[in-house]
C-alpha cells in the first residue's frame, strides 16, 4: 500500500501513529499473544488461555485533516482499538503516538490535559448524561476544564446552533430523538475545539434516513473545521462514503489499509472482498484504476476522460459508444484507455 501515501505529511507530526498495538483481555497475556502470532483461532485462544485478543499488532497512521475509517464486523476489536487511542483502555503492547507524544508513557495529568484540549470522542449510544440538560451536556468538557459559566454557555449555545438544535438547550436527553441525541454528542465533542475527533460507531443506532443526514452533516463539518477524525463503523458503505482512508479489521488484526478505491479495486483477501461485493463499484472506481495500458501509436477516437473521473460518469458513454475511451492525466497527456471488457471485469468481478 506504500504508493497510497500521496497526501502524506511528514511522519513526525502525524496526529496519530500506532505501531504494533496489542490489546489482550485476560490474565495469561503472553500465552495469548504467542498463540495469536501463530495464527491460532480466537475461540481456541479463549478456550486455552481464557484471554480475548481484541487488538492484534495494529500498525497504521492517520494524517492531518483526514477522516480515517476503521471498519470491521462486530467483535473485531474496533471499539477496543479506538479506546486504546484515547487510553480509555491501556494497550497491552505497542506504541501509540498522538501529536508526537507517546500516549503510553503519558502521566495522568498530561493525559487529562490531552483529553481536555486535543482529543474528543462521540459514542455509539451517545454517552449523554441523562441528569444534565442539553446545554450542560454540551458544556461539560468546558466545565471540567474550569471555564466560567458564562463562557461555557456561550460556547455551548454556538455548538448547539452548529448542529442545528437551537431551542432544545434546556431539554433533557431523554426528551430527544436518537438523531438529536447524537447531535448533542457531536456538539459536546466539538465544544472543546479538539484537533482529533474519535467516533465509535456514532450512527449505528440511527435509522437509515437520519443516518444519511448525519453523514452529510459530518462531511460538511469536516469541510469547515478540518480536524482529524477517526471514525468507526461496521457498515462498509458508510466507510466508503466518509473515509479518506479505510482500515479493515478482522479478529483484532488490521487486514488492509487504503483509500476506498484501492480497497474495492484490490481487496487484500476474501474477507475484504466479501465486503466489496455489494458495493456499487461505478461510484467508487475511477478511470485511473480500471484503465488498461496503451501504446502511443494506438488510435483512439472520442473525447478523453480524466484519470480521476468516476466510472459512473463515464459508463453511459462507454455503453452507448461501445468503443474504447482514452484517459488523460492531469497534464492532459494520454495515459491509458478504458476497454469495455476490462471495465466490465472490474465492475462485475471477473
Amino acid at each position: 500500500m506504500a504508493d497510497s501515501e500521496e497526501h502524506s505529511n511528514s511522519p513526525s507530526d502525524r496526529p496519530i501513529l500506532a505501531s504494533g498495538v496489542w490489546k489482550v483481555f485476560g490474565k495469561r497475556v503472553a500465552d495469548a499473544m504467542a498463540m495469536a502470532r501463530d495464527k491460532v483461532d480466537q475461540s481456541e485462544i479463549l478456550a486455552k488461555s481464557g484471554c480475548v485478543v481484541a487488538v492484534q499488532d495494529a500498525t497504521f497512521e492517520v494524517n492531518w485533516g483526514e477522516i480515517f475509517v476503521v471498519m470491521g464486523l462486530s467483535g473485531s476489536g474496533k471499539s477496543t482499538l479506538i479506546r486504546c487511542l484515547s487510553r480509555l483502555v491501556d494497550a497491552t503492547a505497542g506504541r501509540i503516538v498522538i501529536n508526537g507524544q507517546d500516549l503510553g508513557e503519558m502521566p495522568e495529568l498530561e493525559l487529562r490535559e490531552l483529553r481536555r484540549h486535543t482529543i474528543s470522542m462521540v459514542f455509539q449510544n451517545y454517552g449523554l448524561f441523562p441528569h444534565r440538560r442539553v446545554i450542560d451536556n454540551v458544556a461539560f468538557g468546558l466545565e471540567v476544564r474550569g471555564a466560567t459559566k458564562e463562557d461555557r454557555y456561550q460556547k455551548a449555545e454556538e455548538m448547539i446552533e452548529l448542529v442545528g438544535l437551537d431551542g432544545w438547550a434546556s431539554n433533557y436527553p431523554e426528551q430527544l430523538s436518537g438523531g438529536m441525541k447524537q447531535r448533542v454528542g457531536l456538539a459536546r465533542a466539538l465544544a472543546v475545539d479538539p484537533e482529533i475527533l474519535l467516533f465509535d460507531e456514532p450512527f449505528s443506532a440511527l435509522d437509515p434516513l437520519i443516518r444519511r443526514d448525519m453523514q452529510d452533516e459530518l462531511l460538511g463539518l469536516q469541510e469547515r473545521l478540518r480536524c482529524t477524525m477517526v471514525f468507526i463503523t461496521h457498515d462498509f458503505s458508510e466507510a466508503l462514503k466518509l473515509g479518506d482512508r479505510i482500515a479493515i479489521m478482522r479478529s483484532g488484526a488490521i487486514v488492509q489499509v487504503g483509500t476506498p478505491e484501492e480497497i474495492v479495486a484490490h481487496p487484500a483477501d476474501d474477507y475484504v472482498r466479501d465486503f466489496t461485493i455489494d458495493v456499487p463499484r461505478h461510484k467508487v472506481l475511477s478511470a485511473g484504476t480500471v484503465m488498461a495500458g496503451v501504446s502511443p501509436d494506438m488510435v483512439l477516437e472520442g473525447e478523453p476522460v480524466a484519470v480521476s473521473a468516476r466510472l459512473d460518469a463515464i459508463l453511459p458513454r462507454l455503453l452507448t459508444e461501445g468503443r474504447p475511451v482514452p484517459v488523460v492525466d492531469e497534464r492532459g497527456e494520454r495515459c491509458g484507455v478504458l476497454e469495455p471488457a476490462v471495465v466490465s471485469r472490474y465492475l462485475w468481478r471477473q
Binding site: 449523554l128 471540567v144 472543546v192
Partner: protein, 648 residues
C-alpha cells in the same frame, strides 16, 4: 417451543438427583457405625466465652479507654441532643399543622387525593391518642435514617470504587441483614449508654445495608459510555464522581434510602426493648397486658407511617429522576412559600390562643372490637365442637407429624448424614463451591455447640416455608387470574409485611398453643407475601405470545397452568420462595418469644441474661443457616433461568 422442552428436562433432572440423594443417604445410614448421633457436644469450641471475656475486659478498662471519652461519649451525647431537639421541635408544632403540612407536601407530589389520604393518615396518629409516640418513633427513625445515609453513602461510594472493598463488605452486609438485632443490643448498650441512643444505633446497624448496597449498585450501574464520556473530557476522578456517577446513581440511592426506612420501621418494637420508646413501646406495653387491640392500633400506626414514608420516598425518587422538569422554578417555589406561610400562620394562631391539643372528645379507638374478635376466635376456632378440627388440633397435628419428628430426626440422627445431605442439596442447587461452603458452614454450627438448636430451628423453618408455599402458591395463581383479587390483596400483603409481628404474638399463642407452632404461624404470616406476589408476577409476565401459542393448540386452563405458565414463571416463583425463606429466618427470634425454642430462644437468652457470647453464637448460627439456605434457593432459581445459563 424449544425452550419448553429444555425446561421440562430441567424438571426431570432434579428427580434423578433426589433419587440419588435418597440412595446415598440410605447407604450412609446403613454404613455408619452405631452410636453416631447429634454433633458431639464435647467438640463445642464456641467463641461465646471469648466474646464475653472481651466484653468483660472492655467493660473493666472502659474508664481508661480514650475512645469512650473522646469518641463514644461525645457521639452518644450529640446524637441524644439531636434526637431530643428534633423531637421537641416536632412536638412544639401543633398537630393540625403537621396534618396540613403533610397533606400539602403529598398533595403537591401525588395529587389532591394523595394529599387528602396523607392528611387522613396523619389524623390517625392523633385521633388514636398515639401522637406523642408517633412523633418519638418518627424522630428516632428520621435521625437513624439520616445517620444511615451519612454512613452508607460514603461507604457505598468506596465499595463502588474498589472491588476489594466491595468483596470485603459483602459478607458483612449479609450478616448485618441476617443477624438478629437481639444479638447486638447488649454490645450497643455497652458502647452507647442507656436509653434512646443505643436503640437508635441498633436501628442504624440493622437498616444500613440497603443504602450501602444501592449506592454501590447505583454507581456501578452508570453506563460505561457515560463514564468514558466523562473521562474523555478529562475529568478528574473527583469530577467524575460528583458530576457523572453520583447524579446518575441518585434514583438507586433513593431506592436504598426507601428500603432503609422500611427496615428501620421494621425494628421499631425490638428497639423499644432497649428503650426506644414510641410506638414500639406502646406495642410492648399493650402486649404486657394482653391488649391485642391496643397493640394493633399502635402496629397499624407503624404500618401507616411506613406506607406514607414509602410513598414519600418513592415520589422523591420520581422527583430525582425528573429533575423537576415540569415546573418552572418560580412557580415551584411560590407554592411552597404560600403553603409554608399558611402553615406558619396556623401554628402561630394555635400557640397564641393556646389550642394545641387534640380534643379528647374526638378520640377514637377500635381496640375493643379487635379484642372481641380475638376472644371470639379463642372460643370458637380453637376447636369446633368436639371435632378434631380447629386451630388447636391443627397445631397438635403439625407438632406430632411435622416439627417434632423432623426435629428429632435432624438433631438425633447421625450428624454426618445431615451435613452430607446439606452438602448434597447445595451441590445439586449450585455446584461444588456451595457444597464446600455448606459442609463447612454446618460443621461450624456444630463446633459452635449449636447443632441441636439449629436443627430445631431448621425443622421449623422447613415447615413454615412449606406452609407458605402451600398457601401462597395457589393464592398467587388465583391473583394472577383475577385483577380484583390482585388489587384487593395488595394492601393486605403490604400490611402483613410491615405490621410488627409482635401484634400477632398473643393471638397465635391463644389459638395454636404455646410452642413451636405459633412461631411458625407468625412466620408464615410475615413471610408469605413474596410467594404470593412473585407467583402472581411470574405468571403475569409470561410472554403472552407463548400463552397464545399454547392456546392455539387448545390446551385446557389446567394444562396451560401446569405446562406453560408455572414452568415459565418458575424463576420468579423461586425468587419469591428465596425471599420467603429469608423472612422466615428473620422471624426466628420472634418465634423464640412464643415458645419456638431453638436458636431464637437462645438469642433471646443472650439478651435477657446479658450473655452476649451466647447471643452471638446463636446469631452466627442463624447467619450461617440463612446464608446456606439463601444460596441454595438462589441456586435453584438460577437453574430455572433460561437454558443458556444452565450448564449443570
Amino acid at each position: 417451543m424449544t425452550s419448553l422442552t429444555v425446561r421440562s428436562a430441567g424438571w426431570r433432572r432434579p428427580m434423578a438427583y433426589l433419587g440419588g440423594a435418597v440412595l446415598l443417604l440410605g447407604g450412609l445410614i446403613v454404613l455408619l457405625p452405631e452410636g453416631i448421633g447429634a454433633f458431639p457436644p464435647e467438640w463445642d469450641i464456641g467463641f461465646g466465652p471469648a466474646v464475653n471475656e472481651v466484653q468483660q475486659w472492655w467493660i473493666s478498662n472502659r474508664r481508661d479507654l480514650g475512645v469512650y471519652l473522646f469518641f463514644f461519649d461525645p457521639l452518644s451525647d450529640s446524637i441524644d441532643w439531636l434526637l431530643r431537639a428534633f423531637e421537641n421541635l416536632l412536638m412544639a408544632i401543633p398537630w393540625y399543622v403537621h396534618v396540613a403540612g403533610v397533606g400539602v407536601v403529598f398533595g403537591r407530589w401525588l395529587g389532591r387525593a394523595g394529599g387528602l389520604a396523607a392528611g387522613a393518615g396523619m389524623l390517625y396518629f392523633v385521633a388514636l391518642g398515639l401522637w406523642e409516640q408517633s412523633v418519638q418513633t418518627f424522630s428516632l427513625m428520621t435521625v437513624a435514617v439520616a445517620l444511615a445515609v451519612a454512613i452508607g453513602v460514603p461507604v457505598g461510594i468506596l465499595a463502588a470504587r474498589s472491588d476489594w472493598v466491595f468483596r470485603g463488605l459483602r459478607p458483612v452486609l449479609d450478616s448485618m441483614q441476617t443477624l438478629p438485632a437481639f444479638v447486638y443490643l447488649i454490645p450497643v448498650l455497652l458502647f452507647f449508654g442507656v436509653a434512646r441512643v443505643p436503640s437508635l444505633i441498633a436501628t442504624v446497624i440493622y437498616a444500613l445495608p440497603p443504602v450501602i448496597r444501592l449506592t454501590n449498585l447505583g454507581i456501578r450501574q452508570v453506563p460505561t459510555e457515560s463514564l468514558e464520556a466523562g473521562l474523555m473530557f478529562g475529568s478528574t476522578s473527583g469530577q467524575l464522581l460528583r458530576k457523572v456517577q453520583l447524579p446518575q446513581a441518585v434514583p438507586s440511592i433513593l431506592a436504598g434510602v426507601n428500603q432503609t426506612i422500611m427496615m428501620a420501621l421494621s425494628i421499631v418494637v425490638i428497639a423499644a426493648m432497649i428503650g426506644a420508646g414510641g410506638l414500639g413501646q406502646e406495642v410492648l406495653l399493650a402486649l404486657r397486658h394482653q391488649e391485642v387491640g391496643r397493640a394493633v392500633e399502635a402496629g397499624m400506626a407503624i404500618v401507616l407511617m411506613a406506607v406514607m414514608l414509602d410513598r414519600f420516598s418513592h415520589s422523591l425518587v420520581g422527583q430525582g429522576r425528573m429533575g423537576g422538569a415540569h415546573h418552572t422554578e418560580g412557580l415551584r417555589y411560590r407554592y411552597w412559600w404560600v403553603a409554608g406561610g399558611v402553615l406558619a400562620a396556623l401554628a402561630i394562631a394555635g400557640w397564641t390562643i393556646g389550642w394545641t391539643d387534640y380534643p379528647t372528645a374526638l378520640q377514637f379507638s377500635y381496640a375493643a372490637p379487635i379484642d372481641g374478635a380475638v376472644d371470639w376466635a379463642r372460643d370458637n376456632l380453637y376447636q369446633l365442637g368436639n371435632l378434631p378440627v380447629g386451630t388447636g388440633p391443627f397445631s397438635d397435628f403439625l407438632t406430632t407429624y411435622g416439627t417434632r419428628p423432623m426435629r428429632l430426626y435432624l438433631s438425633e440422627e447421625a450428624w454426618p448424614v445431615v451435613v452430607l445431605f446439606f452438602g448434597f442439596v447445595a451441590w445439586w442447587a449450585s455446584g461444588k463451591k456451595l457444597l464446600l461452603g455448606s459442609v463447612v458452614g454446618t460443621v461450624v454450627i456444630g463446633l459452635l455447640g449449636m447443632w441441636t438448636l439449629t436443627m430445631d430451628t431448621l425443622s421449623q423453618t422447613v415447615v413454615a416455608v412449606l406452609m407458605a408455599i402451600v398457601i401462597g402458591l395457589p393464592l398467587g395463581v388465583a391473583a394472577s387470574r383475577r385483577d380484583w383479587l390482585e388489587r384487593g390483596m395488595r394492601p393486605v400483603l403490604d400490611t402483613l409485611q410491615t405490621i410488627p409481628s409482635f401484634c400477632f404474638l398473643v393471638p397465635v399463642v391463644i389459638l395454636f398453643n404455646v410452642g413451636r407452632i405459633p412461631g411458625i404461624i407468625a412466620s408464615v404470616l410475615y413471610a408469605i407475601p413474596p410467594v404470593i406476589r412473585l407467583t402472581n408476577l411470574g405468571i403475569r409476565s409470561v410472554d403472552s405470545e407463548i400463552v397464545e401459542a399454547s392456546e392455539s393448540f387448545g390446551v385446557t386452563r389446567r394444562q396451560k397452568l401446569w405446562k406453560i405458565q408455572l414452568p415459565l414463571a418458575m424463576p420468579t416463583v423461586l425468587a419469591g420462595i428465596n425471599q420467603t425463606v429469608m423472612l422466615v429466618l428473620a422471624m426466628v427470634v420472634i418465634a423464640g418469644l412464643v415458645g419456638g425454642a431453638g436458636l431464637g430462644l437462645e438469642a433471646v437468652k443472650g439478651l435477657a441474661r446479658s450473655d452476649t457470647g451466647l447471643g452471638f453464637e446463636a446469631g452466627a448460627s442463624i447467619v450461617i443457616l440463612a446464608m446456606i439456605l439463601d444460596r441454595i434457593t438462589q441456586g435453584w432459581a438460577a437453574r430455572f433461568q433460561p437454558p443458556s445459563s444452565d450448564r449443570g
